[in-house]
């Protein structure tokens, strides 16, 4: 008997594709076995309690047939502010060399050539990662050498359907920083039509290295965006991530951050702006496995219409991780009585000398504040926008890169201008 959320459509496509796929076929067939046995996750599983993948099983996704090179420069999103910044452009999950500008200080290889699956992914536990492992065709393997500051690199992903037929693509990326290296990666996800984008990113931050990872999830309105990120953070290293989730019909970003060296740091911040029937899930697992590490999470949701925001944040502190300093704050602003937020913080602490705090607030716009703004002549819409901006400020202020911040600000401004 097939499980409730069957992966049979994807398995059938895999059977037809096997000869075309690069790399280790054993890994792929193992992943296929996992999906055959367990299917896609269902809401009966704790990690998927608030997010249903049932809609995926209803679609007949096809692998993209358009050549990546078929995308011209007009397919690129607005990249003003990033002039001269190197970029990797992925069209339907495949590297488009013509539109890309290779970085000078980072080494980039294609997954299509190397089939470098990495070592961090857990397909047996994370079945979307099994799906990715089974079907991954391309991706970016990015490496920065010891002690090098490689500046900023953009990764632009453009999704498309094929004349109404939904597509699915499963890029497999890796970002690896050698000890003392530095890099800022800005990912922009955009697209049109209905498609499934299921990227897996493996991140290794070497000793005292620092990766800043900014993600703008602005996928097409009908798209599915299901991203899984594994980050390994070594001694004295830092992984600072920020995700703005504003696009897509159904989205989930799942980050597993593993602090395994003394004095490591991670920040997993996010803002979600949703309306209509959008659903967006931000799920994190921070594992403190070494002493004196810090983790910070500020997650803000602005929910209009019948949208639904989810935050699941788990902090695990191992016995060895003394002097852990963990902080997690989840706040939701509901702009409509039909919007919904589900919040699940989890702390598992086995060390005895730790500082871990978490909190959650859910509220509406304050009528006193709205009246104060109105009494100063500020129209209702502008007053709401001002207060939403103020609500998001704490999460957005973590974005230090000026061009990225200004891009995020303008995307948020457009969200307001297009508000129903």
């Amino acid at each position: 008997m097939l499980p409730a959320t069957s992966a049979s459509g994807f398995l059938a496509r895999y059977d037809g594709l096997t000869r075309r796929l690069p790399g280790d076929m054993k890994r792929r067939s193992d992943a296929a076995d996992i999906l055959r046995s367990f299917g896609l996750p269902t809401r009966r599983e704790e990690a998927w309690k608030y997010t249903s993948l049932a809609a995926l099983a209803d679609e007949n996704f096809h692998e993209p047939l358009t050549e990546a090179s078929g995308f011209g420069p007009d397919a690129l999103p607005d990249l003003s502010g990033f002039e001269g910044v190197p970029r990797l452009v992925f069209a339907q999950g495949r590297l488009n060399v013509a539109q890309s500008v290779m970085p000078e200080k980072a080494i980039v290889r294609g997954f299509a050539q190397t089939a470098d699956f990495g070592v961090l992914a857990r397909p047996e536990r994370d079945r979307l990662v099994a799906l990715n492992t089974m079907l991954a065709e391309d991706g970016a393997i990015i490496e920065v050498e010891e002690g090098l500051d490689a500046g900023t690199l953009l990764i632009v992903s453009i999704g498309r359907d094929m004349a109404g037929t939904p597509t699915a693509f499963h890029p497999r990326h890796a970002i690896r920083l050698a000890p003392g290296a530095k890099l800022t990666v800005i990912e922009i996800f955009e697209g049109a039509g209905k498609y499934l984008h299921n990227p897996v990113t493996e991140i290794v931050v070497g000793a005292r290295a620092k990766l800043v990872h900014l993600r703008l999830q602005n996928e097409a309105a009908a798209a599915f965006h299901l991203a899984t990120i594994y980050a390994d953070i070594a001694v004295g290293a830092a992984y600072e991530a920020f995700t703005l989730s504003i696009g897509g019909h159904m989205a989930r970003t799942e980050i597993h951050a593993h602090l395994h060296g003394k004095g490591g740091h991670t920040a997993l911040n996010a803002a979600q702006l949703l309306r209509g029937t959008q659903h967006s899930d931000f799920t994190t697992v921070v594992s403190h496995d070494a002493p004196n590490c810090t983790s910070r999470q500020t997650v803000k949701h602005v929910l209009a219409g019948k949208s639904r925001g989810v935050f699941q944040g788990k902090i695990e502190v191992a016995r060895a991780a003394q002097k852990t300093d963990g902080y997690q704050m989840n706040q939701a602003l509901l702009l409509s009585p039909d919007a919904e937020i589900d919040c699940k913080p989890q702390l598992e602490i086995y060390a005895d000398d730790v500082k871990c705090s978490h909190g959650a607030t859910i509220g509406e716009l304050d009528p006193e504040q709205l009246f104060y703004l109105a009494s100063r002549g500020i129209p209702a819409e502008a007053a709401r926008a001002l207060l939403v901006r103020a609500f998001l400020a704490e999460a957005l202020d973590a974005v230090e890169d000026e061009a990225a911040r200004s891009m995020l600000d303008s995307v948020i401004d457009r969200w307001w201008q297009n508000a129903p």
């Binding site: 009528p367 109105a374 100063r376 002549g377 500020i378 901006r389 103020a390």
Partner: protein
């Protein structure tokens, strides 16, 4: 400027204003005094359009416009300004950004060109200096962490920047020390002109030493029970509300 006729308003089922008649001509400043619970703050909120009060009868004419039919922002754009008794804190909203948004919303409504950031900051800094406000008050979040006196001065700063036709000062003097009181008084006096009127709601005569009113009205149980000149405020200070209200009854 402002003509109020038989204004009645309630919160929920409870009537607060029970028939206010009041006219404030162009260029005049009128003081409203009265004991706690007499309806002074309610009057200020009803005039500025706060939603939690229901107007059950009466009318308010503001420069030929039916004020009660207008949204709060339209009233402000038409020239009504309320200096709040308890100014609201806006965490995450910078004071300068807030003030510039307000100034430009009102300029836009009046068909005047908007101020760019540099023009605005120059004007705001000059006003802040006149009100003896430190420069960093423009950089801080609106009213967040402000002392009581700073909040009141920030209200006066907004008033002078927005240049209203009618300012309603709801106990702007409470919480102010003597020096701050003088500064606030000067702020209001600087706006005095034939095109500026004000309703000054206060408990104390002190503020009226600085802002000398054309008329003083005593509000009790939701009605104006006595009106007079500036000397009425001194009478109240000397004899208390009870006697004045009893005499009026």
């Amino acid at each position: 400027m402002l003509v109020i006729k038989n204004l009645q308003a309630s919160i929920g089922e409870k009537p607060i204003l029970r028939g206010i008649d009041l006219a404030v001509p162009d260029g005049e400043i009128h003081a409203i005094m009265g004991p706690n619970g007499s309806g002074k703050s309610t009057l200020s909120y009803v005039l500025s359009g706060r939603a939690d009060f229901t107007v059950t009868a009466g009318e308010v004419d503001f420069d030929g416009q039916n004020l009660l039919e207008m949204e709060p922002e339209a009233r402000a754009q038409a020239g009504v300004f309320l200096a709040f008794q308890s100014p609201v804190e806006l965490p995450g909203v910078g004071n300068a950004n807030f003030l510039r948004t307000a100034v430009n919303a009102i300029r836009r409504a009046r068909g005047e060109p908007e101020l760019d950031a540099a023009q605005f900051l120059k004007a705001a800094r000059a006003e802040a200096k006149r009100l003896h406000m430190p420069d960093d008050m423009l950089k801080r979040n609106v009213n967040v962490g402000f002392s009581g006196g700073e909040k009141k001065r920030n209200e006066v700063l907004q008033m002078t920047m927005l240049r209203p036709k009618l300012a309603i000062l709801d106990e702007t003097d409470s919480g102010l020390d003597i020096d701050a009181l003088k500064i606030v008084g000067e702020g209001v006096n600087a706006l005095r002109s034939e095109k500026f009127s004000a309703l000054v709601i206060t408990h104390h005569q002190r503020l009226l030493d600085h802002i000398v009113p054309n008329a003083v009205h005593v509000l009790a149980h939701g009605r104006i029970v006595r009106s007079g000149g500036a000397e009425l405020a001194r009478d109240l200070e000397r004899h208390g509300y009870a006697q004045v209200i009893a005499e009026a009854a």
